[in-house]
């Protein structure tokens, strides 16, 4: 069952922060600041982190559970307009498997009392599991509706 498919998706998330665009932008442009909030699992050791925030610069982050699957984020910053916009393209690997290639746009709009941030990710997400590591990760992701499924099964 090595099924290969490529699924395209776009999602947008908006937030309004009571902080000036320059401060919100700085939370993305400064390595120390970004490290303080952007990495999902604080308990995961970061084994490599390159952060070259300029057009053409690269961000490379390797993390993951201790002894577990490596999560590798590899980005190139394509467009940076200070306090207004950041565009980067990246791919994501779990172990040896590339799970997605994406284009991310972050826009910062000055609004009364703060900043409206619009985060848009356009990506192609890959499927197909031919090793256990990939299957475990895919399963982890896939099981967010497990409880509901189990309840339905019990009810049936």
């Amino acid at each position: 069952m090595t099924i290969r498919n490529a699924k395209h998706a776009t999602f947008t998330i908006e937030r309004v922060y009571p902080a000036a665009p320059a401060r919100v932008f700085a939370a993305w442009s400064d390595k120390e600041a970004k490290t303080a909030w952007a990495y999902c699992h604080e308990e995961w050791p970061v084994s490599e982190h390159v952060f070259d925030f300029r057009e053409g610069g690269r961000e490379h982050l390797v993390t993951g559970p201790a002894g577990g699957t490596r999560h590798v984020f590899d980005a190139v910053y394509h467009d940076i307009v200070p306090d207004q916009r950041i565009v980067y393209a990246y791919d994501m690997h779990l172990g040896e498997r590339r799970i997605s290639v994406s284009l991310t746009t972050i826009e910062f709009f000055a609004v009364a009392g703060g900043t409206r941030l619009v985060f848009t990710e356009q990506g192609v997400f890959f499927d197909g599991y031919d090793d256990i590591a990939g299957r475990e990760e895919g399963t982890r992701i896939g099981l967010d509706n497990l409880d509901r499924q189990l309840r339905q099964q019990r009810a049936a």
Binding site: M1, I3, N5, A6, K7, A9, F11, I13, R15, Y17, P18, A19, R23, V24, A27, E32, A33, A36, W37, A38, C40, I99, S100, S102, L117, F119, E121, G123, F125, F126, D127, Y129, I132, R135, E136, G138, T139, R140, I141, G142, L143, D144, N145, L146, D147, Q149, L150
Partner: protein, 117 residues
């Protein structure tokens, strides 16, 4: 916010065992009866049934009994999951952007003299 921890534990427990991995590998090639699943395994049928129960509880595998034969199959929603990558990606960004809000509040220059936690 969805809680990923419990299903994660179930799936990892289910796949942590080499016998169950063999069963999942077999089922990834197509449905099989319990006795077909047991054939390559050096264990009793009842042990195989116990492993199957763990796999079913994790949501990875489902089985259905028709007559005297229980047929097992991979649960496709658990394994074909490009859509799941997408929903997980979105959820993780929702969490991050919430943390960005908290970070901005913590580092607010007028609210607190210290810039960094």
């Amino acid at each position: 916010m969805l809680n990923y921890q419990a299903p994660l534990d179930l799936a990892f427990q289910a796949l942590a065992d080499p016998t169950r991995r063999v069963m999942v590998e077999r089922l990834s090639q197509g449905p099989a009866s319990v006795s077909e699943l047991a054939r390559p395994l050096d264990m009793t049928l009842s042990a195989v049934v116990q492993h199957l129960a763990v796999l079913e509880a994790s949501g990875l595998v489902r089985s259905q009994k028709v007559g005297r034969v229980r047929t097992c199959r991979i649960e496709p929603t658990a394994l074909h999951s490009a859509e799941r990558w997408i929903s997980e990606r979105r959820a993780s960004w929702e969490r991050r952007l919430d943390r960005l809000g908290a970070f901005l509040a913590e580092t607010e220059p007028t609210a607190k003299p210290r810039r960094k936690k």
